[in-house]
Symmetry: C3
Subunit: 407 residues, 3 copies
């Protein structure tokens, strides 16, 4: 590490390459850190579509010291949380939340206040309130003691790992795409050296954004990895009568309880006391390039979200229906991943705990699109149907893992 005194004022408007302005807001390797900062299209003299990127440090309670980045692209307002693994807290449109949900956890919790192994590995629940949570990379899924005797805590460590870097890159050329990069590392001597260059991109004026993450195993040894993009939606999209579409060949319940709701998997109840959660495992189908799509929309079919991902990168899909009461957290998760939500030891025999070779990189590319009209929703549903190619999602009644036997 090269130590230098903290950069007090930002003077780093240096071009990254010929066609972009790059701002380094955090870089632990050089002790670069900017506490509060803002840039706008006006300051840069860029374009007619107004945009701004702001970094704010939060204080008080359990969000003491948390950094957030708020990106307004003239259409959407996205809040990223570098301190929590570069997750996405929520997305607003016209000042109101369109993507995200209301968790009983209200603060954006600094991982310093979280003990992931508490409650037999459920500590992750103390901070879970984001729209997009990366679950990985050493492991993911439900907590449990792995075959080697180690407790694997719920959904891994990455979301509770502060980003080592924050870079904001704005293209010099129209349409001036905005990219926020952050390196989130799981580094433990003798155990893991899994480094993820997360990348969030959005173009001014557009209603979609992309994640283009690159996981690299910096170790000299092969390692296992798992990742789930735990993407969570509540009001205003989720409501009684909301529907989900996924291009998939097959759906099966996570457990026997979810089996009871299998036939109605595509529609949602309103807030329902005692519902808890029903979870489904899907096998996505894709086009020749591996691209596939899932869509969630409200009852009227004029508001929704689509998620495009690639099955060569993220071969399975979990749909998490948590339509319990509003206070309990009324939310559904659409969760492409390498793996389902079972504990790692149950997924190894299924081939869902892949290997990343020494030095190897894995790419994960997802695009989230906010659908703001019936036309946009219809078009997205049509795209799902195109991928289904006239076939139905086959309902399989037996869970992939028989949890009654394996515990």
């Amino acid at each position: 590490m090269k130590i230098k005194p903290l950069v007090a004022a930002l003077t780093l408007v240096a071009p990254l390459y010929a066609t972009a302005a790059e701002f380094t807001l955090t870089d632990t390797a050089t002790n670069t850190y900017v506490e509060n900062w803002e840039i706008t299209n006006q300051k840069l003299g860029f374009g007619n579509i107004p945009f701004s990127i702001e970094k704010v440090r939060l204080h008080g309670g359990k969000q003491e010291g948390v950094d957030i980045i708020v990106i307004k692209n003239g259409e959407l307002e996205v809040t990223l949380v570098p301190t929590r693994g570069m997750g996405i807290f929520d997305v607003k449109k016209d000042g109101k939340r369109v993507l995200g949900w209301d968790s009983p956890v209200k603060e954006i919790v600094n991982p310093a206040y979280i003990d992931l192994e508490s409650r037999n590995g459920l500590g992750w629940l103390d901070g879970f309130n984001e729209m997009m949570v990366r679950c990985g990379y050493e492991w993911t899924g439900h907590p449990g003691v792995d075959d080697n005797g180690q407790l694997l805590s719920l959904h891994g460590r990455v979301q509770n790992t502060p980003s080592s870097t924050i870079k904001v890159i704005i293209s010099d050329e129209a349409p001036h795409t905005i990219t926020v990069e952050g390196e989130v590392s799981e580094r433990t001597f003798k155990k893991a050296e899994l480094v993820t260059k997360t990348s969030f991109s959005i173009t001014p004026g557009e209603n979609s954004f992309s994640l283009n993450d690159i996981l690299t195993n910096k170790s000299d040894y092969d390692d296992e990895y798992q990742i789930i993009y735990h993407s969570n939606f509540g009001s205003p999209i989720l409501e009684k009568g909301a529907k989900v579409y996924a291009a998939a060949s097959e759906i099966s319940p996570f457990n026997s309880y979810a089996g009871k709701g299998l036939k109605d998997w595509q529609t949602y109840l309103g807030p329902t006391k005692g519902y808890d959660e029903m979870v489904y495992n899907l096998k996505p189908v894709a086009d020749k390039s591996g691209n596939t799509l899932a869509v969630l929309h409200n009852k009227a079919g004029n508001l929704g979200v689509s998620m495009q991902y690639n099955t060569s990168q993220l071969p399975v899909l979990t749909i998490w229906k948590n339509t319990d009461t509003l206070q309990q957290g009324y939310v559904t998760g659409i969760e492409p991943g390498t793996s389902y939500a079972y504990n790692t030891k149950f997924q190894r025999p299924l081939g869902l705990v892949p290997t990343i070779h020494a030095g190897e990189s894995k790419h994960f590319d997802l695009t989230y699109t906010v659908l703001s009209s019936s036309a946009e929703v219809d078009s997205a549903v049509k795209d799902v149907n195109k991928l289904l190619n006239g076939k139905k999602v086959q309902q399989v009644h037996e869970p992939i893992v028989d949890l009654s036997k394996v515990q």
Copy 2:
């Protein structure tokens, strides 16, 4: 959460209601935070009795980032710790501690440095040094694995939870009562949504202060709760020959070791090597309104403290005699609660793990009074005797829970 840049300078001298000045020093919902701040009666133009309220941020060691609030009311100086669940660190009079004790833990420890589940659930001991510690609310008592397989760590999580808000309210009208409120929340997705609005009040020139806490179960489901007000006193009140009085019908030892000291429960030894602790379970008696009283005073009977509480809110009382050596922590606890100090699983069968219904609120009101003369001490002891109404505290030799059998 509405994000805005941190409020750098305090300009929030806004009236809460017609007759008070309110200052919001922390509010995580709006990212309001004031690092260092002070108000005085002079600045406010209030009254003849000098008072001041000061907020200070601590730095260094394990107290890095801890906020404290020091309230001087012209008679007492009380230090609250928002970062540690709005506990009371100590109370001074004429510049010297009158309430509080000397723990081997010297710093006011930021919960970020505490792992409550460490040492089989004894992590709480890494930060225990306050005069008043709230023990709750999801559970309280000694650590142990609950019937559902979850480790319940010593005395719960609330004292190691930073307050989400800090409000200082000073009445416009004489006697200008000072109130400090803080919301301390135990929020865990699917597990708990127990929100406590703590409130500390003191009137300029008086020798007493009150806690008026409101616990609300914000969840849509009923939940268990437990609370002990772990109130701890060492020198100068505690000394050889100090005495404790409690309006109670019955006292029994916590375990067989405490049984040996039962007959002498009311008097204290000096610092005694090898004493460790003797703990007693009392059943308080109260007046028609439920009010009851406990009193601790020094040997000479001219210095003491009384604690008034309500048995409809806090039906049981623990007296913790820890008259071990000075370095080990020479201290006694007077601890009204919903529960004794046994692990939760042993208190359920006793009816000491109450339910808080969905949406319900529970109130807890206590008044601590510093007794600075023989007359004040005598009067307080008389009040205890009045409640006893000529009856003695009956000594029961069998512990309520037979720990030799239940482990």
Copy 3:
């Protein structure tokens, strides 16, 4: 604790005693804290040999809030880490690292982000990257459940304990020795009150530095203690053909795997995939004053390090050969201690878990010397041989603890 507002600017150039300037940069007892600070020989008007001492606060990632102190003495540049138990991060010479190593852990991790009991007590590995790590004091060694049922986490708690004080003392008299003191305390109610006054000293222009630590049991009860000075060296000293010398009567392998490398214990392989680690237990021999020496040097024998320590304080020596790949952490540890690296419960029967009586202090004095020429290396090796007095280090094939039986 005496609370006062944070000292914003340093004005503490007060003489400690007649012949030194003392600067208190942190003192939690008085809430003294200086965020960034620097002093030089020029500012002090001291001497012809340039020196500087700088304190910097790190930000971002998991090193948020970490304090480091960089001492340049005109010959060496040493980085101390008060936030991590006053460890030594690395030592540079002519701008390049001479002592230290490349761990997969890159940031200087704030203990707030470490859960020592995670991974069955291996949480320490999340922050392990320093040249000198104190392993102690309540316990040290490999993790495991002690006889009393408590998990002892890897290498104890002290390195993940922020220092409560930082004092910089510079002698008024030539050669103006620089001392940095920090009090690192393991304080847990009823469990431990082990306070270590760490002291690092270096003289301007010299190629060596000393640690002179004093551990005091402030408790009124005797306690166990253990300490290992885990001193770690990678490139440029460690390389294929590097050699280690230790004045010892006997060496034995830590386990059967290390037994395979016993005969070659004195030489090092280059980075070797699959090597993991071979660990050796040595019994040092000393001169009449108890002083003994270990030396590590590069293949050419013109660069090295010597460590002088005292066998009356630190009776045993561990040599940790971790010549795995570069990315995995190519490093060797030379580790004088009260104890070997076995779990505490295996060392009690060996007499390697000493007692520190109530109020007692234990001193630990070590001197590290950077050897920058063949002459310096040869001289140090000669000193080792002098202590060996013509005898060889006897190779014993049986490990002291038979781990195959005791697990």
